[in-house]
Assembly symmetry: C2
Homo-oligomer: 507 residues x 2
């Protein structure tokens, strides 16, 4: 089981993480919460120094990066609350029932246990929130698993500096050695992913690399879950009534959402389906003056975005609403100002191989749909899965009593089949970290659409249920004891009742 | 998306299931519950006729098969209660919070939606409970997904007869056409598993076939979850004090568990670790007269079990406690009486390649461990994952205050890392269908150890979370509405609180 083709350095990392796993899993909720709070505090304390490195390495703005550090620190603290709350353990107690419908049933209790060491592949576009101490690391550590972070090549210095902050914070609270690790290089990441001691992987990045890693995880002698957050075009549907009500507000919101962080967000709205001949394109054009150019993350992404933009602009039927563009500086960095184009549904269909793919950068496509278009049928025609789908409607339509209410309901149902998050009258960028959040969606948006990578449910990716049958109290995990020492919610099935019928929550 | 290499017959089946999916998903909980109850009632009404076919095709006893039909019918009804209860939807409501720690947060609500058409590969050894209308089908239909059952080649006539019962029951309650389908043949099953309209698979069977199908599901252009329940040896640990207290009771219980259904159960205890020189082997030998020979499912399984038994008996150091054996009748059927052998831990280690594999049939191995053996370290030495792990202790040891309590706790922790269910002073065969049940375990026990194939949580395999952000009430699913028309538990995060901290259940 421990045979390995790792380099001595990587072997030490993986062996250290594996050795730390039992001790870390055995920490009390309060101790594990303390680890997370210490990391959040340390990260925030190091903000000025880390943001300075991040600006240089990623080209993202100081305001955005400052906000991202805050979000990342708060996220670590939120997960400490998740750990203390304990409802993520989904503790269930079925009392023994001599009269059970299928004959005497034993006492069965179920909780969740941490999987063990996890590898997390960092993202380029969130150097804090989806990187070394980001949401994946926070949920891995919250679940009670050691983490090995594979640094993104786009911000190696920041990754090392953040890791040093993390190590010092972990030492300060006496966390087991080996709980947190950072490695560099794609080959190193793949080698670790293949190691039998690694029990799951998480990833944020492209469909291509995501597919590669998903396949590696699935083909291991012991397959493991791989949680990849890959690509998404996040379609938006805007009704005629919404445009009549607030074209300027929608135009301005769209442009802010598309231009923010130079459009390098997995939730950037990529396609806006609008009624043909509406006032929205003109309103968008009028709002163009609001945004300034923004450096793209790295020269490779800039080149690739520039080519994608050329392809789209050269597609027959495509008109520039806001031309935008990419300017390259002497260091090879690309500075983008947002591009918005429009195209008729007919031309979109005709050129769809060239148009439907995600453009990673500040570009969006208004697709003008003729009256009578079956909106619910549009998405399945072009896409399998997406992270989000957005609908803009008028105040009147929000009552659900207008003539098009049935059509709108069909659109909601269709979107719910293809996305992880349906939203109204807002923008998909900016994903709140809350218990009900769902940041995931059918392939290729993610490699596992039963999970979320944002929100406190993200912790569930790194846990596994275990049942205890007729287990004496002295040998039960605390989460499952009658006296409920952790004070967490326990779903109780008393004797004399079957199924979930009548389960009570206590705690 | 609908290109297909299916035969016309299979294309009709898959197209029918896909067409039925939206209508079936749209049924109210009460309507879906009615479908499940109708299936349970119809199955039980057809019991005499179906059991007669099953006896002929599987060789299982009338008593066992009658009990299995009851269990399967009750299971369908239990899932109707799960559907009505609604807690499986894990409905969450985070109210908008203008003061949220990361800035104003929108209203976010989350529920679960059915995945779509599912293929379920039936098992040979449970012609009812893990076959056409078994636990997988029940949880698939309860989740709101159409099912395509691939019949097991061991009981084709029974599969057809059960399917006819199902179709009639579905017609009687007006369920959408195409919700339930039966196909025959491994190639047909593989072709359907590869079809893009199929959204998940479930399977009960061997590690070899399970690996093959898991790999096919993972390698699709759109990978899908595959829930395989594969192989398990279900280790048992018996303390010296337990043997001193009740050797005869343990011996008799063990033999009943190993001999029941001719040992053809995935939860059959395969290895019993006992203190060297204990009275248990003699007690087992004395209990041998209790059991009679039992037909094995089919000639192939009988041949394979017979060879496995020969290999084990010929391994150096192995002694027959109860020789048992297989007698072949003129039809080629094998009739087995149980075999129990013992071997020292040293000889077990020496011959372990030949001994550790699952023997599918009525055979178990007593491994005699010398005093001072680190029991917690034993399992990881030989196995990755198992469905269950059992510990037999004395009444005194159950208090957790004896000298070996620390050692026992370490064993519990070690088992919880490698199995889905830890049990005390009982036998792993006979898996209760309850909310807390966990029938699953790390590879190769299952292909997805975050899930269970028994118990009401099994429904979760066929659902996917979807969040609704700032969605007007008129467009929200009923599960997420403030007035809670379905009366299900909703986890509420009010404004002014972060994380899971202070979530309230209502409903």
């Amino acid at each position: 089981m421990t045979e390995s083709t790792l380099t001595p350095e990587l072997e030490a990392v993986v062996a250290g993480a594996a050795a730390a796993a039992p001790a870390y899993a055995a920490l009390t909720p309060a101790e594990r919460a303390r680890v997370l709070v210490a990391l959040g505090d340390a990260l925030e304390a190091a903000k000025p120094r880390l943001v300075e490195i991040a600006m240089r390495e990623t080209g993202l703005t100081e305001a955005r990066l400052n906000g991202e550090v805050t979000r990342t620190a708060v996220q670590l603290r939120l997960f400490s609350e998740t750990v203390m709350d304990g409802s993520y353990l989904d503790a269930r107690i079925d009392y023994a029932d001599p009269e059970f419908v299928l004959g005497p049933r034993p006492d069965i209790r179920r909780t969740h246990v941490p999987l063990g060491p996890i590898i997390n592949f960092s993202a380029s576009n969130f150097p804090f929130a989806f990187s070394v101490l980001g949401g994946d690391t926070a949920s891995i550590l919250a679940a009670g698993c050691p983490v090995i972070v594979k640094a993104h090549s786009g911000h190696p210095e920041l990754s090392d500096a953040t890791a040093e902050v993390a190590r010092e914070a972990l030492r300060s609270v006496g966390a087991p050695e080996g709980v947190f690790n950072l490695i560099h290089g794609r080959e190193a990441g793949v080698a670790v992913l293949k190691d039998p001691r690694i029990k799951a992987g998480s990833f944020t990045g492209s469909i291509g690399i995501g597919r590669l890693l998903t396949d590696i995880a699935a083909a291991r002698p012991t397959p493991i879950p791989f949680y990849g957050e890959l690509g998404s075009v996040n379609p938006v549907f805007v009704t005629a009534a919404a445009i009549a009500e607030r074209a300027d507000e929608i135009a301005s919101g769209l442009l802010t959402s598309v231009a923010g962080s130079a459009g390098q967000l997995c939730t950037k709205p990529g396609f806006i389906f609008v009624p043909a001949g509406s006032a929205l394109p003109a309103a968008v054009a009028a709002a163009a003056g609001e945004v300034v150019e923004h450096r793209l993350l790295d020269p490779r992404i800039a080149q690739s975005f520039n080519e994608r933009r050329d392809t789209i602009l050269a597609t027959p039927g495509v008109t520039a609403v806001i031309p935008g563009g990419v300017r390259f500086d002497d260091a090879g960095h690309g500075w983008a100002s947002p591009t918005v184009v429009s195209v008729s549904l007919e031309d979109f269909r005709a050129g769809h191989q060239g148009l439907v793919e995600e453009a990673f950068g500040p570009l969006t496509i208004l697709v003008e749909t003729p009256e009578g278009t079956d909106l619910a049928a549009l998405m399945p025609e072009f896409y399998e899965g997406n992270l989000s789908g957005t609908i803009h409607i008028s105040a009147d339509e929000a009552t659900g009593t207008t003539a098009n209410a049935t059509e709108l309901r069909a659109l909601v149902t269709a979107l719910a089949k293809q996305v992880g998050r349906v939203l109204f009258n807002g923008w998909s960028t900016g994903v709140a970290v809350t218990p009900a959040q769902q940041h995931g969606g059918p392939w290729p948006a993610t490699s596992n659409d039963a999970s979320t990578s944002v929100g406190t449910s993200a912790i569930k990716r790194f846990l596994r249920p275990v049942a205890f049958q007729n287990t004496p109290a002295a040998f039960l995990p605390e989460a499952l004891r009658d006296e409920n020492p952790l004070g967490l919610p326990q779903a109780i099935s008393p004797a004399g009742q079957s199924g979930d019928w009548g389960s009570q929550y206590r705690g």
